[in-house]
């Protein structure tokens, strides 16, 4: 922060060269910063301060209640030897990769198909996107019902005469994590479609015409000309989707409850279970810090490019 006398220059609205040295003038110069101050303080305390606090907790042997007996990185070491953590981390890898990949393929595919001057485009777009308005809890409850082997899709298909049809992933420890993928892709792929459609509408027609005049086939035009133009969209979509994947908590709670056993746990549910119900605050904090690390690994390149493009644009 600068002192009052110099901030008069800095806080002037752009393009105005008059400064009034009166009390009111000083107040005016400070007002923007005063207005921003509470948000800055909130951000410093509740985002940065709390992150630091959680990190400190992760260095202690806190169990039921937070205490500050430091044990170094012992909680991280415990985490690395915890089978349930590895199940959760591996699940996140599987879930994240499939979720992001399938959403991209489905979203891009639907956007390209919708971009072919479809008469009812508005209606279709609305139908593709509505799941995004729902809570993940609602999505989980509905898919739990659909995937219920006794009364859901399995029993419906058997009722059509396919007696041996089996679709019991929800109760199969090896497959439960894939039910999360199905429900999450159902919810978020329409959103990716909307991103791609906006991107497609922004592409200059003359590029496409030129490519077609050169005799390129339509799929080739899309793959070689359109897709490279959509690189920023793909980039944004991957960031947002992986972010959703790492934060996925409600969906797991509502759809599988992390089960059978803890076979479909994700780090978010692992953290919650240990910090709030299993009285392992230290280890729960350590897992939260690792989640933050995962988000940062994705986020830093994203923010970097966002801020850079903003400066140039």
């Amino acid at each position: 922060m600068k002192s009052v006398s110099t901030s008069g220059d800095a806080a002037r609205p752009v393009g105005v060269a008059v400064s009034r040295p009166s009390v009111a003038g000083h107040l005016q110069a400070w007002l923007p910063k005063l207005v921003l101050a509470p948000s800055v303080v909130i951000s410093l305390c509740f985002v940065y301060g709390f992150m630091l606090w959680t990190f400190i907790l992760s260095l202690t042997d806190s169990r039921m209640l937070p205490n500050y007996d430091f044990v170094g990185f012992a909680q991280y070491a415990r985490l690395m030897n915890n089978e349930r953590w590895w199940v959760a981390a591996t699940n996140l890898g599987v879930f994240g990769a499939l979720f992001v990949g399938l959403c991209l393929v489905l979203g891009a595919g639907l956007a390209i198909l919708l971009d072919q001057r479809i008469r009812r485009e508005g209606v279709l777009r609305t139908l593709y996107l509505y799941p995004m308005a729902l809570s993940f809890i609602v999505t989980g409850v509905v898919w739990k019902w659909l995937l219920n082997p006794g009364l859901g899709i399995q029993s419906m298909v058997r009722g059509w005469g396919f007696e041996s049809f089996t679709f019991d992933w929800l109760v199969d420890p090896n497959m439960a994590v894939y039910t999360l993928v199905i429900a999450a892709v159902w919810q978020a792929s329409g959103f990716v479609m909307a991103l791609f459609l906006a991107g497609l509408r922004g592409i200059d027609d003359s590029i496409l015409k030129a490519a077609q005049l050169d005799g390129a086939s339509l799929p080739r035009v899309y793959w070689r000309v359109v897709m490279p133009c959509l690189r920023p969209v793909v980039f944004s979509a991957v960031m947002i989707l992986s972010h959703i994947a790492i934060k996925s908590f409600d969906l797991v709670v509502a759809l599988t409850g992390g089960g059978p056993g803890y076979s479909s746990d994700l780090p978010a549910t692992f953290m919650y279970a240990h910090a709030f119900t299993r009285a392992q605050i230290g280890m729960g904090s350590a897992s939260a810090i690792l989640m933050l690390g995962g988000v940062l690994a994705i986020l830093v390149p994203y923010l970097y490019s966002e801020l850079r493009s903003r400066r140039h644009g």
Partner: protein, 292 residues
């Protein structure tokens, strides 16, 4: 656009038919869960075991909806989700209004009164949009305790405002950047002050971004589960938490029709918003990503 498949030849016509078929199939796949949810919620329990997912109810009934609303068990208590439904509104409305107001002022101060370090302040606040909330849960629980806000609606409003500001500031900042600075400079020369310029010049043109911000915050907070389950008490749970409790309460026969009716009740407000203001909803979703 000349990159479309045109129905000139029979082959092209066949392609176009296939194209429509694929698009309609996709629409059905997105619709299926909603259809099943509505159908199941209108069936009496005995029809659920007998029929299959997509059979129409023989004797459609609203009883499951009434039970979900007024008498289904959510954990210990058996008075439906209605109370929690209103809880959600009592949490969402103040949180949305406050976060939007603060976001608007922040965006205005960051763009029209640029000072050294404004970009840095913005980048710092932007980070709040991206953290996994697990990383603040434990300190927040303790802090709410110290503030005497544990398990209260006020506490939840506070948490949602604190973590909503980052998004609303992002929305308004990106919107106000595109409003010409000359308007503000002229008003400044006429002697208008900070709030006067905001009230007279920025606010009148802000309607679209206010709608985007309100819709985004409304859906985010309404659909929240993590903060709801971590920071609410028995009486102050939002409807998402109550729904999860209702579905997981096992007393006697599992009433899937009531579960689905409760899920519909929890989903309706955001669905209505989406249907009424879909355009703005999409804009909110994409504001932080493609627009930049």
């Amino acid at each position: 656009m000349d990159n479309v498949i045109r129905a000139r030849t029979p082959a092209a016509r066949a392609w176009r038919l296939l194209l429509h078929l694929v698009l309609i199939l996709a629409a059905l796949w997105y619709l299926l869960p909603l259809a099943v949810m509505v159908l199941t919620s209108l069936k009496p329990l005995d029809e659920i075991g007998a029929g299959s997912l997509l059979t129409l109810p023989d004797n459609p009934t609203l009883a499951p909806w009434l039970k979900a609303w007024g008498s289904a068990c959510t954990g210990m208590r058996c008075d439906g989700v209605s109370g929690y439904f209103w809880n959600s509104f009592a949490i969402v409305i103040p949180a949305v209004v406050i976060a939007t107001l603060i976001g608007a002022l922040n965006g205005y101060a960051l763009t029209k009164w640029r000072f050294k370090g404004a970009e840095l302040v913005f980048a710092m606040m932007l980070f709040g949009c991206f953290i996994p909330f697990q990383v603040i849960l434990l300190p927040m629980a303790q802090t709410l305790g110290w503030l005497g806000l544990s398990s209260s609606r006020l506490g939840l409003i506070f948490v949602h405002v604190v973590f909503g500001i980052a998004f609303t500031t992002l929305f308004f900042r990106n919107f106000y950047v595109s409003i010409p600075d000359e308007l503000v400079s002229a008003a400044k020369l006429d002697g208008a002050g900070f709030f006067r310029i905001f009230w007279r010049i920025l606010l009148p043109v802000s309607k679209p971004i206010i709608v985007v911000s309100v819709i985004w915050q409304f859906t985010q907070i309404w659909n929240d589960f993590l903060f709801g389950v971590a920071f609410s008490g028995h009486d102050t749970q939002p409807v998402t938490v109550a729904l999860n409790n209702l579905v997981n309460t096992s007393t006697g026969v599992k009433e899937y029709n009531v579960d689905m009716a409760a899920a519909m009740i929890a989903a309706l407000p955001t669905l209505v918003v989406y249907v009424l203001a879909g355009k703005y909803f999409v804009r909110g979703l994409t504001a932080g990503s493609v627009k930049g």
